[in-house]
């Protein structure tokens, strides 16, 4: 296209041309209700999701399945041979709910780290959203809705594959899906605080290395935390992943409702809500100061 001054067209239209249309006409405009506000922002994330979905297939879907094959089948065969399984079930059955929750955690964390820093620091698209009739809470709620959706489909897809491997025994397992979403959110909302406050993204390498990987390995996903040294067990109790694994395993085994189910749910909800509260504050400090 030519940027020559002489080629500028004369007809330029953007002045008021929509006298009847509610949100384009002069004067006060019909406000958006909060469902509508979050909805239009989610629609944007949906556009991004469709665009980036295929790029995340390996880390989202393939890696959990590889873990399932290696740990569930490979190491599982050693476990079953030597101790006849764990808690009375074959190791594959034991480890699948753990891996569902690990997947939920990883997706929640993945979506709440670099992408968030992108919206706040790199392309700063959150700022663009705040120039339209939206508040920080709307912007974050919409992003959280999308993360919850991401966690749900990743955990769901993993469960389908696990079922094909013979790792799912009961329809009650479906109850693990809402738990997985809670686990994903319990990790995601607190990480928004990091995205709003951190100077650069090198902090995330440390988060993955020093927080996420140890949590995956020591929160009862692969073996009962009773096998840990006694001082490490209270640490596991404090982590959202362990509570999710406990609930998920109960759902998968279709056994009795765990005594402490309300505590488990409460811890996950508390992480999510406290994280949400602090992240709204942190993003507000950063973007609307």
């Amino acid at each position: 296209m030519s940027e020559d001054l002489s080629s500028l067209s004369a007809e330029a239209p953007p002045a008021a041309r929509h006298p009847g249309a509610s949100r384009l006409s002069a004067g006060a405009r019909r406000p958006l209700g909060w469902v509508e506000r979050v909805g239009v922002l989610v629609a944007y994330h949906w556009v991004l999701f469709k665009r980036t979905f295929h790029g995340a297939l390996v880390s989202r879907f393939l890696l959990p399945v590889l873990f399932l094959a290696s740990m569930g089948l490979g190491v599982g065969s050693l476990v079953d041979e030597s101790s006849g399984g764990v808690d009375g079930v074959p190791y594959l059955i034991y480890v699948v709910p753990g891996l569902v929750m690990v997947t939920a955690m990883n997706v929640g964390v993945g979506e709440a780290t670099w992408p968030v820093m992108g919206f706040i620091k790199w392309n700063e698209f959150y700022r663009a959203m705040l120039h339209t009739p939206h508040r920080v809470l709307d912007v974050l709620l919409a992003h959280w809705v999308m993360i919850a959706f991401n966690v749900l489909i990743s955990a769901g897809a993993f469960m389908v594959v696990a079922a094909l491997f013979g790792g799912v025994d009961s329809w009650w397992s479906l109850l693990a899906l809402p738990v997985a979403v809670l686990v994903g959110m319990a990790f995601a909302t607190p990480l928004f605080v990091v995205g709003a406050k951190a100077a650069n993204d090198s902090i995330y390498s440390a988060v993955f290395r020093l927080v996420i990987t140890p949590l995956m390995l020591f929160s009862g996903a692969f073996f009962p935390i009773e096998n840990l040294p006694f001082w490490m067990q209270p640490v596991a109790w404090a982590t959202p992943l362990w509570h999710g694994v406990e609930l998920g395993r109960a759902a998968f085994l279709g056994g009795p409702v765990p005594d402490l189910w309300a505590v488990h749910v409460g811890v996950l909800v508390a992480y999510t809500l406290v994280g949400a509260w602090f992240s709204v504050r942190a993003v507000r400090d950063r973007l609307v100061a």
């Binding site: 296209m1 940027e3 001054l5 500028l8 067209s9 007809e11 330029a12 239209p13 953007p14 002045a15 008021a16 041309r17 929509h18 249309a21 949100r23 384009l24 006409s25 002069a26 004067g27 006060a28 405009r29 019909r30 406000p31 958006l32 509508e36 506000r37 239009v40 922002l41 629609a43 944007y44 556009v47 991004l48 665009r51 980036t52 392309n123 700063e124 698209f125 700022r127 663009a128 959203m129 705040l130 120039h131 339209t132 009739p133 939206h134 508040r135 973007l287 609307v288 100061a289």
Partner: protein, 309 residues
């Protein structure tokens, strides 16, 4: 408040901790005018714009946009504003038209409305041929035009432009000014911040000169020049490192003198006469240049500093 006042600020103040970015300014902007904030970087222009854009809370003083208080009616204000921030804030992964669509949807416009407006605005921004391209492949000037098109998607009654041409090459600036001029002719109210005096002179009907968070003067570009400068200026350069040493030899020529590190400015209504006076005194200059006074001279007179340093 009079119905044609879109913006009123009384003693508007913005503080970040101990630092006062905007120090009690009074401003009124009427419907249909192009209003400018002229000042160097750090004068408080962007802080003012962010308060007017209802994205930054007012520390003290009173601010009304469309007669509404941004503290309580931010959503209603933003629904009627167009905001063209200093940074592009585009989603570079999306195409040109997708950027317009998603932004339009943020205002709650229907898909049909958004598509119709996007088509018109792409034409206006001369981006129709690039509509399907990813934003990351556009030039800086094209991105700016896209940001302006985007800020018009909700048919705003007031358009905020924060440093619209900073960082663009001269040709891209001229194309952008032409687009803004068209908007102005169509009666869109504009508020522009800039540290370019030529931009302020070309686009603004009325402006305030801002320095260190406060307003130093207010008026039309013509008024301000008439009030704070002479008709013409003679720029005198010497073959020397210290121009201050020549100030005495030039004193008395013209009405007023400003000594800058690399030149001396002589303010006079008749520049040629002043040049002749220099020659009469037998002073050996490297060059003398007669030009018209600009807003740069106004700023220099008011603050003793140049706009761009």
């Amino acid at each position: 408040m009079a119905p044609d006042l879109l913006l009123t600020a009384r003693n508007l103040t913005k503080k970040f901790g101990d630092f006062t970015a905007v120090d009690g300014i009074d401003v009124e902007v009427r419907k249909g005018e192009a209003f400018g904030f002229l000042g160097p970087n750090g004068a408080g222009k962007s802080s003012t714009m962010r308060m007017v854009g209802a994205v930054s809370p007012v520390t003290s003083g009173e601010l009304r946009i469309f007669g509404l208080d941004p503290e309580t009616h931010a959503q209603q204000i933003k629904a009627r504003l167009g905001n063209c921030p200093q940074k592009d804030l585009l989603d570079e992964e999306l195409s040109v038209e997708e950027n317009l669509w998603v932004y339009g949807r943020f205002f709650g416009l229907s898909k049909a409305e958004v598509r119709e407006r996007a088509t018109e605005l792409l034409e206006f921004a001369q981006l129709t041929e690039r509509r399907a391209d990813k934003v990351e492949h556009l030039s800086g000037g094209m991105k700016r035009r896209l940001v302006i098109a985007r800020s018009l998607i909700n048919n705003p009654e007031l358009l905020l432009l924060d440093e619209p041409t900073t960082g663009l090459d001269p040709q891209a600036r001229h194309i952008l000014w032409d687009r803004l001029f068209r908007l102005k002719r169509q009666g869109v109210t504009l508020i522009i911040t800039t540290h370019y005096m030529d931009e302020a002179e070309q686009l603004c009907d009325r402006l305030v000169v801002m320095d260190k968070g406060a307003i130093a003067a207010e008026g039309s570009p013509k008024d301000l020049i008439a009030r704070y400068s002479t008709r013409e200026v003679v720029e005198v350069r010497f073959d020397a490192d210290d121009h201050g040493a020549f100030a005495d030899s030039l004193s008395g020529i013209g009405e007023r003198m400003e000594v800058l590190p690399d030149r001396i400015l002589l303010y006079a209504d008749d520049g040629d006469a002043a040049t002749a006076a220099i020659a009469d005194r037998g002073i050996d200059t490297l060059s003398t240049l007669v030009r018209r006074s600009t807003l740069e001279d106004v700023f220099l007179h008011l603050t003793g500093r140049t706009l761009i340093d």
